[in-house]
């Protein structure tokens, strides 16, 4: 009976990974949602979610944790600041990735793989190593700070420090996420038909017009795809502000980490995590809409 075999193979194939991810992805996410309505335990962690008094079962849940989010503007402010950092990172990534992606897309076919590999290579070195590199570069004794301060002192300005600032955080965020912008952008630019530009030139367009009226609009799906890949991980990061940001440069990820590890206020940590999850989901759905294949077929060879 082919039908039975089909059903059996369906179960055998999808059940093990499905069950695993249900247990180690879906269940923890739901537990976090539930935790956001619970009281925090006396020694951190969570208090029981119900109590039984005189045989009476009572739920012990609260909206307090969610109210706390809106009570002071500290957390919303920090969320806005993190969004601003992630946005700045994304924009700088677009500006830096564009020329490189375009250069690779217009290089000879046999050079492209090597040029792409050179983009991916630093991205495969350990995340912490890449942050550490910037700790060296930004260090107050480092050559970069010294060189910058020769300039600032000759202009009669105060000496500057790069370490432990929002600028340091954003530069490192760009460094860590740049390949995520270059790769989808390249994948898009590579499909462009250069004869479109030739035609535009024949019709009298200058270089800027060629770029702005043809290449740029055609590349938007690539930019949207890259923007999601840069923006979402940038938003939740905690190691970069932790190591390079000091007290001025902290982001929402640092507070989440703090709630779960140091102050052990899990309910509130869950609230902050869920806000971040909601933002992520909205962005992913938005990107899926913007980057839908409808806009991608134009300009294909």
């Amino acid at each position: 009976m082919p039908n039975r075999a089909e059903r059996l193979s369906r179960i055998l194939l999808s059940l093990p990974p499905g069950l695993y991810l249900l247990l180690l992805f879906a269940v923890p996410s739901l537990m976090m949602l539930f935790a956001s309505f619970r009281f925090s335990g006396e020694y951190g962690g969570l208090a029981p979610w119900y109590y039984i008094e005189d045989g009476q079962f009572t739920l012990d849940l609260t909206l307090e944790n969610w109210q706390r989010l809106f009570e002071s503007d500290i957390y919303l402010g920090l969320l806005l600041k993190s969004l601003a950092y992630a946005l700045a990172t994304t924009l700088i990534c677009v500006i830096m990735a564009y020329p490189l992606a375009l250069m690779i897309a217009r290089s000879k076919k046999r050079h492209r793989d090597l040029l792409l590999l050179l983009v991916i290579l630093p991205f495969w070195s350990n995340f912490l190593v890449r942050i550490y590199a910037w700790m060296i570069i930004f260090s107050p004794q480092g050559a970069l700070t010294a060189a910058l301060n020769v300039v600032t002192s000759s202009l009669g300005l105060e000496p500057i420090t790069l370490m432990f600032s929002g600028t340091a955080v954003i530069i490192c965020l760009v460094y860590v996420h740049l390949p995520f912008m270059i790769l989808p952008l390249y994948a898009n630019l590579e499909k462009h038909d250069h004869r479109l530009l030739d035609a535009a030139q024949d019709l009298g367009a200058n270089r800027f017009q060629c770029f702005w009226l043809i290449t740029w609009p055609l590349s938007l799906p690539g930019i949207y795809a890259g923007a999601v890949l840069v923006f979402i991980p940038s938003l939740g990061i905690f190691a970069i502000p932790d190591l390079l940001g000091g007290t001025n440069g902290i982001m929402i990820g640092n507070v989440i980490k703090q709630q779960f590890v140091e102050s052990r206020d899990w309910p509130f940590g869950s609230v902050l995590s869920l806000v971040l999850t909601a933002i992520t989901l909205v962005l992913v759905l938005l990107a899926a809409k913007l980057g839908s294949p409808a806009g991608e077929n134009n300009g294909k060879k």
Binding site: S9, L46, I136
Partner: protein, 260 residues
């Protein structure tokens, strides 16, 4: 007028070159100072191997490196099996729910996966240690293996399987003798990707590790939190070397997987 649109302009080459410098100078600085005979990562004093010597006498780092390796091997093996099953299931039966479960951990920021797993492990009384780290790593690696397997499947000529069936092969024989061998490069590439992701992971490990189960990234984190020392440069340089070897191997096996 010269037809120049098919080639990069001088401006593009210059700007692109500068971006390459931005990508490589920081790593070059790390490597360079790992050979510098000075405790400060500030100016070049002279060549030395001493940071590497110190590294190989540092028991904590060696222990952490061994942990990282064990975790990565086991996680990669489990994720390869589960991810291959998931890839096949999604490709053959178009199961949306499985696809969402597989892609979820890839789309979510690491910190969210880390804290939710921490929450669950503690509430279910799972002792934090090697086991909890491996369980966590497998859950975010499955998706990458599944994607590699799916992309290989969609490039496969289905008529080969049909031909085998016409010639009397059972569905299982067709799978074992046709599909599986053709799938092998995808499975291997996915497995190696899982290995690299696991050995590199910091954030999720940070939340799911317990006492005595420190991995190399965790060890580097606690070292740089205290002070910047050339020993970190040395371990970083060695890590880069290992990754370089892995990437070269991976690009030999399946050049397209790296780009996805």
């Amino acid at each position: 007028m010269a037809r120049s649109n098919a080639y990069p302009s001088k401006f593009l080459i210059a700007a692109g070159g500068m971006v390459y410098l931005f990508l490589y100078i920081p790593l070059a600085v790390v490597v360079l100072f790992s050979f510098n005979d000075s405790k400060l990562n500030a100016e070049w004093v002279g060549f030395t191997w001493k940071w590497y010597d110190k590294l190989f006498q540092n028991g904590d780092i060696l222990h952490a490196a061994a942990n990282s390796l064990i975790i990565a091997v086991i996680s990669a093996l489990l994720a390869t099996i589960l991810g291959t099953l998931a890839g096949l299931a999604i490709y053959r039966f178009r199961q949306k729910w499985l696809s969402a479960l597989v892609l979820g951990p890839i789309a979510m920021p690491d910190i969210l996966i880390g804290v939710s797993l921490l929450l669950m492990f503690i509430l279910f009384n799972v002792t934090l240690g090697m086991t909890s780290i491996i369980l966590a790593h497998v859950s975010f690696c499955i998706g990458f293996v599944a994607l590699a397997v799916q992309s290989r499947l969609s490039g496969m000529d289905q008529s080969l399987v049909e031909a085998a069936r016409d010639l009397g092969a059972t569905p299982f024989q067709a799978f074992r003798l046709i599909t599986l061998p053709l799938l092998k490069p995808g499975i291997i590439a996915g497995g190696m990707m899982a290995f690299t992701l696991s050995i590199d992971d910091f954030v999720i490990t940070f939340f799911t590790a317990g006492v005595g189960s420190s991995t190399l990234p965790l060890e580097i984190y606690s070292m740089v939190k205290i002070a910047v020392t050339p020993e970190v440069n040395a371990v970083s340089t060695l890590l880069m070397l290992v990754t370089l070897v892995l990437i070269t191997a991976l690009s030999r096996i399946s050049p397209t997987v790296l780009r996805n």
